[in-house]
């Protein structure tokens, strides 16, 4: 079945620094979603990408889908303490109806 590798597993940054997490697959993806989970909370949907080379922005967050649709990234500019949490990518397999999640990147922001 589909698998997605997410790196890094952990990232500590100083407040104001940038942060990037990457999601990689060995197979071509039809779509990719990103979720954020605050400490002690549940995952919350951020965005979905479906087109090759697609770039979407949400304030300080920039999401990209690779040209070959095998990788994606989430970049946060000038991190804030409110960005703390774990960021997951997820892919939907239309053949099985499964959503497969990456292992997540846990972000800590040091004030």
């Amino acid at each position: 079945g589909q698998q997605v590798m997410q790196i890094p597993q952990y990232q500590h940054v100083q407040e104001g620094e940038d942060f990037t997490t990457y999601c990689n697959s060995s197979t071509t993806l039809s779509n990719i979603q990103w979720y954020k989970q605050r400490p002690g909370g549940h995952p919350v949907f951020l965005i979905q990408l479906v087109k090759s080379g697609e770039v979407k922005k949400q304030k300080r967050l920039t999401f990209q889908f690779g040209e070959a649709k095998k990788n994606s990234s989430l970049h946060i500019t000038a991190t804030q303490t409110t960005d703390v949490g774990t960021y997951f990518c997820a892919v939907f397999d239309s053949g099985t109806y499964k959503y497969i999640f990456g292992t997540g990147t846990r972000l800590k922001v040091l004030a």
Binding site: S30, N31, G41, H42, P43, F92, Y97, K98, Y99, T103
Partner: protein
């Protein structure tokens, strides 16, 4: 937030006992999923449902069973709980395949 409720929120049980977790939704969403979350493993799919009485196994289904007798309820049963099943369990719902998932608040299960 979507109308999705997990119960119980916390449970402590003993090895060998059966445990049932409930996911209840008021959104009439077709798809429902059970995940477990453990440090270093992210969210791993246990079982899922794509309609009433239509269920299938995920990547870590051993030791778990599910039932979905009506749209709004998706039950996860640990037939005989083991310590390796100590985890946080999340239910998620999706309106259509490929659309965003809405997650419940999770159930913290400890098997002693």
């Amino acid at each position: 937030d979507a109308g999705i409720t997990q119960s119980p929120r916390h449970k402590v049980t003993e090895t060998g006992t059966p445990v049932t977790l409930r996911c209840h939704q008021t959104e009439n969403h077709r798809y429902m999923y059970w995940y477990r979350q453990d440090p270093g493993h992210g969210l791993r799919l246990i079982h899922y449902s794509y309609g009433v009485k239509d269920t299938d196994k995920g990547e870590v289904s051993d030791g778990y069973s599910v039932s979905r007798s009506k749209t709004e309820d998706f039950l996860l049963t640990l037939e005989s709980a083991t310590s390796s099943q100590t985890s946080v369990y999340f239910c998620a719902i999706g309106r259509e395949g490929g659309e965003k998932l809405f997650f419940g608040s999770g159930t913290q299960l400890s098997v002693l």
